[in-house]
Amino acid sequence: MNRRELDAFVAHHNLSASTTDAVLDLAGARPMPAELGQFLVRVLQLAGVLSLAAGLVFFIAANWQYVGVTGRFALIQGVIVASVALALWKPAPHALGRYALLMAFIATGALLALFGQTYQTGADVYELFLTWSLLGLAFVVAGQWSVLSAAWLMVFNVALVLFFGWQARGGWAWAALSLLETSASLRLLVPAVLNLALWLLAEFGRRARWSALDQHWVSSLALVCAFGFMTSAGLVALEPHTMSGDDGMALLVVLALETGLVVYAMRLRNDVFPLALTAASLIVLSTFAFGAHTDFDIGTAFMLAVWLIVTSTVSGRVLMSLVRAWGNKEEVAI
């Protein structure tokens, strides 16, 4: 029972404060002091490791003149070596091993940044993030931890955004992609498909009980990234005055992918989240298409307001009916 159901239960039976206390305990709605203590310890440990890692990144970015190049490299490499040594001493799933691998993963990014900063390699920023994600994959596999998987996913997606979103022109990835003369909207579908593949992998890993992917939110994060790219591709394709045949094709692919996801979710009947993302994406695309292809006047303002209300209402009704029909075991209501 979530808090909303408990509120309704207490209101329906008009319970007193002392009985409500008993209800909260019986329903398992409040953590025991020991559980709260354990959670607090985990939060502080994770915050501590991330703060130390951020301190290291800030220090490298500060480019402090009193520490020479050798000293900086020695510092970061020392951190990586020490972290890996700790992870070997207390391997994952031990907490120390996992935190050490998280530190090693972040320090790898700092090392690559320092390399680019020191030797002026001319590499694009996306190459830094892409190399970071490739090198960091070993730590993710060794860590067997959802937090590490999510961190890797974010780094990989930053690389994708920098490359496909900002259309960085340079590096081997660009050389490969430039052979395909396509529009920006079609290019944005590449990272969308990559994220969809990662989502499928994460779903498979969750069902196979891989520790690195055992949390539902990791696969959901990959799906959110996929929808971000799909919706961006649709928005770029719908930009007025620049629409081309490629853009039409990109729109069709976006709609086909989203339809495929809807069919997949309707077959599984266990998760409304992909459908909610589809609804949000379609609302954004249709509203943008309507707004961008008409002159903004009083009629447009009225129609856009009505359109948003109607589309969100229909989406809400359909999604809620599915939540009730399928049950929402994995989600928490607010």
Binding site: R4, L6, D7, A22, A47, G48, L50, V332
Partner: protein, 330 residues
Amino acid sequence: MNAPMSVDALRAELVRRQLLSPSAGKMPAVSHDRPWFISIVLGAAGWLAGVFALAFVALLLKPDTAGGIALAGVMLLLGAFFLYAVDRDSQFLDQFALALSIAGQFAVVWAADRATNSNTATAAWACILQVAVLIVMPNRLAKVLAAFFACCAWALLVRFGWWEAQDFNDQRQLMLGSALMGWFAVWVPIIIAVQILVSTESAWMSSALRSIARAALTGMLLSLSVATWISEPLGSLVFWEGQHQKDWMALWPLLGAISSLLAAVYAFRLGNWAFIGVASIGALLHVSQFYYLLGLSLLLKSCIMLGVGVIALIAATWLQRRGTEQEAAT
């Protein structure tokens, strides 16, 4: 935590303990158990619809005085109130009312800005308006949004009121004490309010205040998670501007990251994992804002982050040892 219980099992257990009469009627199914991501879709769409509704009203009526704009805003808010009041689980009316409510709130704040020509006074009016919406609007999502925006308005009120800034990018040279006191003045009252609401949950759950208290708690937790970041939306985007004065205001995002973690702990106490996720994202956003915000050198920021990391790890170790000792003692 005890194992989760179904409604029927809970009712049976209360009857067995003689805390509930056996003749008490069964509770009807809760109709609004809406997952967080559907609330976000509906809330964002309603919010944007409100912006377009306000544009429509502005283009239609062309109010050019503060009084005219305020009147339009009040009419929109009244329309939203009556739609919510007559609503019987109609999603369309809910969304329509939310759009009207947002449009009305924008209009009233716009009118306040035009009438007072002061950021501080506008923030104060916005704060009062949001508290009124929290108390009066008979809808949960509208109440939660009002509680969240009330905290944001409160943060801006203290900020503009204290330092009389004309806009977000005013050049300042705040001392450490002043920056810390400002942040504590904004957030400590909210943290205290959250603590009181969490620790007295059973008391207000059994009273008529439950709908207001629950929405206020949700909105305040949301604000603790992301509001320092939201209350200076452009601050992290001005890193290309030359500014060499030391400004300890740059410390605010780091304090915001700490308040996000505090929100995560409160969310755990309420058993709300969705909120723990929101608070974690908020903490990361705050740290990235801390990196970009001007006012302190990266070297100083690095030392601060290292210090925070060491303190957090020492605190974790101390808590872990204490927990182990208590476990051994029992």
